[in-house]
């Protein structure tokens, strides 16, 4: 047994006093007929109903769907029916003798106070918001009037406005929803929790092809998800289940699986539809028609695929991309063919050292090429490049800069092919052209020389014609002079002084005569009269003819032709003149004791069998400045010379198809090459 504390006892006392008061109040109420029943809630609920004459009224009040209450003028509740208590969300017992103000939202309390005041004198109404113990509010309509005359109390009638309010809100929201549904381009479908279509937008109707309302969603819209390859595609049932359980679906690729019509590709989004209570009441499904986009995407993908396949299969062109770091990112069959690299040897490697020649890498060619492509969009890459096996080939192609749509550079594409054979052909062509040009130039030069020669020939022919006439007339004049000279000489016989003078005139005249003869000889060459002759015999005859000239000098001619065949086809009389001129010059140059050597050798001239003759004396030889002019007509180093001797020699030798030139000595040396021309 526990001994109660004073505190406990005080509490017990207070409780007892309150119960006493309640009991007295109850009794008073029973007496006053205010109580219909008494509920004793001590051990199990016991209701004691008090029978009285106004019981039918009480029952009526209890059955009212409106809340009814009697209040003191200060707002304390005296009595209320069951519905009033329900509206306020409180048990009846908790309300009695409590001010009703506690159940009014603070904002509405001034209105309530006013209603209490006004209600004592006349009937008045107003809308207020009731606050329940769980915090929810109930809009309510209050009617207030005095209980009966003389009694200090008010009658309060409460009508629940929440249903009405909800209806107004719902219809407004309904109108908005309908409008949204109709205006949306996408097909929007609302399903109830059983998965039946309860709302469908105009586009959804079109998509369904019939009235979808109250049909199961899966029947109205037999969609299937576009699964990844190999995976089974999810059906509409499977898709909707999680949504009806509160989940959402975002942008799932589905298609309308109706075999009758064309395939329609859709983008499905769905979310749960929740009621005011927060419970899932159904689902809202949005279907966006992406058939066109899908088709475009497919077309693009197919086109890209075709293009990729095409590029991969191109064999004659190496086509690949390189990134900004200069590493290939793609490969095609052409890379193998043209450059010799397998895909794994190529992609991701340093392009510079892969395909450029070391010289080009050294010279910075790859960087320049990419810089040019980046700047101008493209760059030629026609140059010698290197294959995987190190062999070089002539590459021809284009490097193109690649950009994103936004214009950001992302790399380069390179296309190249092997044009080595064409390049080689071109180079061969170039060489051939150069060769041709060179030959044309040579030929032109030859022609110019020939033209000059021909011009010279024409000039000589003109001179020759003139000389013929001149020589003829001169001879007549010389003849007259000679005649008179002779007669004079005869008449002056025995007068040595005059004879001496006459001899000098005669000598001058002879010189003049010889000059005419030589000029004529040079200007009007005689045609060749070729016959087989021994060269040595020809020069010996010339030597004999010169006997008067050389006898005084004790000159000597040495011949060197041991074992050489000196037989050739030539004009011996004209050749004799050549030898006479050469030997005469040698005799003059050789001084007091001339030693002349003629050497004869076998030789070749323009691929033909020929004879080389060298005539050399023991004189001082030619000065170097004389050499180039020796064969010019009228150029002479002698005091008494016409300057035509060597020119005539040259003319005769060249008429034979031979050549005459100056040797290096010692002494004066003339070299003659004569073709043999034997039959």
């Amino acid at each position: 047994v526990t001994v109660p504390t004073p505190e406990q006892l005080r509490k017990d006392n207070e409780e007892l006093r309150q119960r006493l008061e309640e009991a007295e109040e109850t009794l008073r109420a029973i007496h006053a007929g205010e109580v219909d029943a008494v509920v004793v809630a001590k051990s199990g609920e016991q209701v004691f109903t008090l029978e009285s004459t106004d019981r039918p009224y009480r029952l009526l009040v209890e059955c009212m769907t409106q809340g009814a209450a009697a209040l003191r003028t200060d707002g304390v509740l005296l009595y209320c029916n069951r519905h009033f208590a329900e509206l306020l969300g409180r048990p009846l017992e908790a309300l009695r003798r409590q001010p009703v103000q506690d159940c009014i939202s603070p904002d509405d309390r001034p209105l309530f106070e006013a209603l209490l005041r006004e209600g004592q004198t006349r009937e008045c109404q107003g809308e207020i918001t009731l606050v329940r113990t769980d915090g929810t509010t109930v809009p309510a309509y209050l009617g207030v009037n005095a209980l009966r005359a003389g009694a200090a109390g008010l009658c309060l009638m409460v009508t629940d406005l929440s249903e009405q309010k909800r209806h107004e809100a719902i219809s407004a929201s309904e109108a908005l929803t309908r409008s949204i549904l109709e205006q949306t381009v996408d097909a929007t479908v609302v399903c109830d929790s059983a998965g039946k279509v309860v709302r469908a937008s105009r586009r959804a109707h079109e998509l369904c092809g019939r009235n979808p309302l109250l049909l199961p969603f899966t029947t109205a819209f037999p969609i299937r998800e576009v699964g990844s390859e190999g995976e089974p595609a999810a059906s509409a049932e499977v898709l909707l289940v999680p949504v009806l359980e509160g989940g959402t679906l975002q942008g799932r690729d589905v298609y309308l699986d109706c075999p009758a019509s064309r395939r329609v590709d859709l983008l499905l989004s769905a979310g749960p539809l929740r009621g005011p209570d927060g419970q899932v009441a159904g689902a809202v499904v949005t279907l966006t028609d992406i058939t066109e986009r899908k088709r475009a995407e497919n077309a693009l993908r197919e086109s890209q695929e075709r293009f990729r396949t095409l590029v991969e299969q191109v064999k004659d062109y190496a086509i690949f991309m390189i990134d900004m770091q200069g590493r290939p990112t793609t490969w095609n069959e052409g890379v193998r063919r043209v450059l010799g690299f397998a895909e794994d040897e190529f992609v991701g490697q340093e392009i510079d050292h892969l395909i450029y020649t070391p010289e080009d890498v050294q010279a910075g060619v790859p960087q320049r090429e990419l810089a040019l492509a980046a700047e101008t969009g493209r760059a030629n890459n026609d140059r010698w490049m290197r294959r995987q096996d190190g062999e070089r080939f002539w590459a021809s192609g284009i490097t193109t800069a690649l950009h994103t749509e936004a214009g950001e550079p992302i790399g380069f594409s390179k296309v190249m092919r092997d044009l080595t054979s064409r390049k080689q052909a071109e180079e061969a062509l170039h060489r051939a052209r150069d060769e041709l040009e060179r030959r044309v130039e040579e030929r032109t030069a030859e022609l110019q020389v020939a033209q000059r020669r021909s011009l010279q020939g024409e000039r000589l022919a003109a001179i020759g014609q003139m000389m013929t006439g001149l020589a003829h007339e001169s001879r007549n004049a010389l003849q007259r002079s000679q005649a008179c000279l002779t007669v004079l000489s005869l008449r002056l016989e025995g007068r040595p002084q005059e004879q001496e003078l006459l001899a000098r005139i005669q000598c001058a005249q002879d010189d003049l005569h010889r000059l005419y003869e030589e000029v004529r000889e040079y200007a009007v060459p005689r045609p060749l009269d070729r016959r087989l002759c021994h060269l040595s015999e020809v020069w010996r005859e010339a030597w004999r003819d010169l006997a008067p000239l050389r006898e005084a000098k004790n000159a000597e001619l040495r011949e060197d032709l041991v074992g050489v065949d000196d037989l050739l086809l030539a004009d011996p009389f004209q050749l004799k003149q050549v030898f006479r001129n050469l030997l005469e010059n040698a005799l003059v140059a050789g001084g007091a004791l001339p030693r002349i050597e003629i050497r004869c050798r076998r030789a070749e001239l323009d691929g033909q069998d020929a004879v080389r003759l060298t005539v050399r004396d023991n004189g001082p030889g030619f000065a170097s400045e004389q050499m180039p002019r020796l064969f010019e007509p009228f150029y002479t180093t002698k005091v008494h010379g016409t300057g035509l001797g060597l020119a005539i020699c040259k003319r005769i030798i060249e008429a034979h198809g031979g050549r005459i030139e100056v040797g290096t000595g010692p002494g004066a040396e003339i070299i003659i090459l004569l073709p043999r021309r034997e039959a």
Binding site: R475, L478, Q479, Q482, C484, T486, H513
Partner: protein, 201 residues
């Protein structure tokens, strides 16, 4: 100079100086200048009347050039010619032709050239003449032979002897009458012709 018979020479040149030259030089060479002509025509006239031993002529002259003149002269008589020319070109020499042109002299002519040319010309002409005489003799011999054969045939026919006997009797006849065999034969052949005509009458 010339130790042999002096030559009678005709010269032609349109240059007086040349005529002077020949006039002075030819006598020194031992020859005699018998005619001087200044044209081709004149040369022809003088040669016909004088019949010189040698002609020395220029080619180009007025009134018929030298070549034409010597060609005319040598149709009637045989006189050797030396041509003096300013040309020694082959075409002129080729055109010169004529077996009576014995030598050439190219201008200007000196006495020594002239002497050599005269000697050469006369030598060649002499050879030429000898040959011509021989030819005449041979031709005569051939002609005689023909007549003798004809006469021999007539004797064989008329006397009735063989060929050898006929020839022997002809020679004896000529010898007896101190006449040439050919002359006797000619007479016999002529007579035989007369008899043949008479027989036909």
């Amino acid at each position: 100079m010339n130790k042999e018979q002096p030559l009678r020479i005709a010269v032609a040149d349109d240059e007086p100086d040349m005529l002077l030259f020949f006039r002075e030089v030819l006598p020194r060479l031992g020859h005699k200048l018998v005619a001087e002509a200044a044209s081709g025509k004149e040369l022809v006239q003088r040669c016909h009347s004088l019949h010189p031993d040698l002609i020395i002529t220029d080619i180009r002259m007025p009134e018929g050039d030298g070549l034409q003149a010597v060609a005319d002269i040598n149709e009637h008589m045989r006189i050797p010619v030396i041509l003096i020319t300013a040309h020694h070109d082959s075409d002129v020499l080729g055109r010169a032709g004529g077996d009576y042109i014995m030598s050439y002299l190219a201008k200007p002519v000196k006495p020594v050239d002239l002497e050599a040319a005269v000697r050469l010309a006369m030598l060649r002409f002499s050879h030429f003449q000898t040959l011509a005489r021989e030819t005449d003799d041979l031709r005569q011999a051939l002609e005689d032979r023909k007549v003798i054969e004809r006469a021999k045939g007539a004797v064989m026919k008329r006397v009735g002897v063989g060929e050898e006997e006929a020839f022997r009797r002809l020679r004896k006849l000529a010898s007896n009458h101190n006449r040439k065999l050919a002359d006797v034969a000619q007479e016999i052949a002529g007579s035989e012709e007369v008899f043949r005509l008479l027989e036909k009458c």
